[in-house]
């Protein structure tokens, strides 16, 4: 078919194609609106409930927007010692834990990314095999007990100091983004490996570091089972354990000690739950858009197998 014929045919079909495409676009965007609403509504319901008054919540008056706007729920959240302690502990575990994670991940990923490192293949296998097979819960539990980590703050950091999958992602990133010539030039200049990693490789790898911080940080912030299994001392509880007591085991009445009437107390308990959900979940939701641009890039480079 010659070009002219093609153009003619195109022109002839154009009005019809336009209608089809319009319909397609309409259905497509309609489905997106539906998807967004299904995900959005529960989130809005929780947010609006958290900003409503206890009576409005207990009577089920909240439909979309807050009813009798109030901050009582948040005042309640931050007036409880268990919650505040949980928050402080979680911030500590998240900050220190993520720092340790990043150091160890880079320490593993960088040497493994060096193609002329003798023994690289064996070392890499040692790492990947541990990802595929594990001893399971019981041997790990007995090891943790043997190391004397039970009920110790370190149990929230040391046994989870490294995620092998993240090491693989980070290694692939280093392999693909740090040119061999740069390393050679640095070596000629007498730069040690450690200084090369800290002063050159890491600043060049902001994207992957941002992704790792998000992954590890979120992991620590949301971690519950590690503490559930090993920590019994209330002063060391992370936020998620406190949340479990309140949200799932419904131990709110013990927490709300004020001599309120039963009805008011129920309302307050519901409100407290909604406010708590908001306070516990918002930090990472707000942080994500800032690292999003690194994120897609970092994940994609990491996901391509080296």
């Amino acid at each position: 078919m010659s070009d002219i014929q093609t153009v003619k045919k195109n022109r002839a079909r154009k009005p019809k194609a336009l209608l089809e495409d319009k319909l397609f676009g309409f259905v497509n965007d309609g489905l997106l609106v539906l998807a967004a609403l299904i995900v959005f509504y529960p989130l809005v319901y929780i947010l609006s409930s958290a900003f409503s008054s206890p009576t409005a919540v207990s009577k089920g008056l909240v439909v979309f927007f807050p009813v009798d706007f109030s901050l009582k729920g948040f005042e309640e959240v931050f007036s409880h010692k268990a919650i505040v302690t949980g928050f402080a502990n979680t911030i500590f575990y998240t900050v220190v834990g993520t720092l340790v994670n990043i150091i160890l991940t880079v320490a593993a990923a960088y040497p493994l990314s060096r193609k002329n490192l003798p023994g690289r293949r064996i070392l890499l296998f040692i790492f990947t095999f541990a990802m595929l097979f594990n001893g399971g819960l019981i041997p790990s539990y007995l090891l943790t007990a043997k190391l004397g980590l039970i009920n110790h703050r370190a149990v929230m950091i040391i046994p989870v100091a490294l995620n092998i999958f993240n090491v693989i992602i980070c290694r692939t990133f280093f392999e693909t983004t740090i040119p061999e010539e740069l390393i050679e030039a640095a070596q000629l200049d007498g730069l040690s490996h450690t200084r090369f990693i800290v002063q050159i490789a890491m600043p060049l790898s902001k994207a992957i570091i941002a992704v790792l911080v998000l992954y590890y940080g979120l992991g620590h912030w949301n971690s519950y089972f590690q503490a559930f299994l090993y920590i019994t001392d209330k002063s060391k509880f992370p936020l998620q354990i406190v949340l479990r007591d309140i949200l799932i085991l419904n131990q709110v009445n013990e927490i709300i000690a004020d001599p309120l009437l039963y009805q008011a107390k129920q309302g307050m308990a519901q409100l407290l739950k909604y406010s708590l959900i908001v306070v516990a979940s918002v930090p990472f939701m707000l942080a994500y858009p800032f690292v999003a641009k690194y994120f897609v890039k970092g994940v994609m480079i990491g996901a391509i197998k080296g």
Binding site: I38, L137, F225
Partner: protein, 324 residues
Amino acid sequence: MRVSTGNEARAVSQKALRSKAMRSLQHRVKINWELYVILAIPLIWLLIFHYYPMYGVQIAFRRFSPLKGITGSPWVGLTNFIKFFKSYNFERVLRNTLSISLYDLVVGFPFPVILAILLNNCLKPRFKKFVQIITYMPYFISTVVMVGIIIQFLSPKVGVINYLITALGGTEIDFMGRPEYFRNIYVWTNIWQGTGWTAIIYLSALSSVDPGLHEAALVDGANRFQRMWYIDLPSILPTIAIMLTLRMGNIMNVGFEKVLLMQNDLNTGASEIISTYVYKAGPAAAAPDFSYAAAIGLFNSIINLVLIMIVNKINAKINETSLW
């Protein structure tokens, strides 16, 4: 030249080559010593926290007594495994594990693919970005909070779902207390929470589709649906295949934390899975039988390993992308 001068010369030259290779290896080890020191820290961690527990797996073949330690306890062969296979829980936990997992896979898998295609076909950049942000938000919610939300929404007295049911003239349903609802609640809330996030992977696969294909199709008069169906979808088929096989390799791994948190005395008939059973026979038990629990865990790990090996073989065939 030298090679053609006979065996002796060849042997000499090979020896020379080998010693040269040895020297170069020594040299490479020498200039990289610092890297080994750096790698030693994570490696030691790995040996302690991953390989030592693998060694400790022998507890599954012994009768563990805390006083004698793992290696001091007597060998009992496969007794613990046989005990598990014969117990009435075996069938129940295996059935629950597989049915939750397969349901999650079959029903949940298409959603992220569909969402990614819809987003990719959206011509309004700001609207697209808005929908994307909204849909991945739930990913950041912790398992504890997620289960908290589920319980709160489905609560018979104060839950929004039951408000709706009673408003429409129905009677309240105790969703969490009825085993027949467990799987549905687990799977559909997973879809709500994970679809937007998983879609990111497909979305980036879609963004790498060659625009030339679309231009050519436009010239041929293909409409938007045809281009989506005949260009976009086939282009991301390898990604879909990899994701699918990865999920199949993980079929024995049901979200342990979520199931454990959603469990209550009324729904264990549908919610007791292998990993929660291990936990209950081990650390959570009043009189823990660590050997028995470890045997069940090992049974699970071995099936997993075999599945992942098979899946990796399949993936290698699909498009030369293997996991290692």
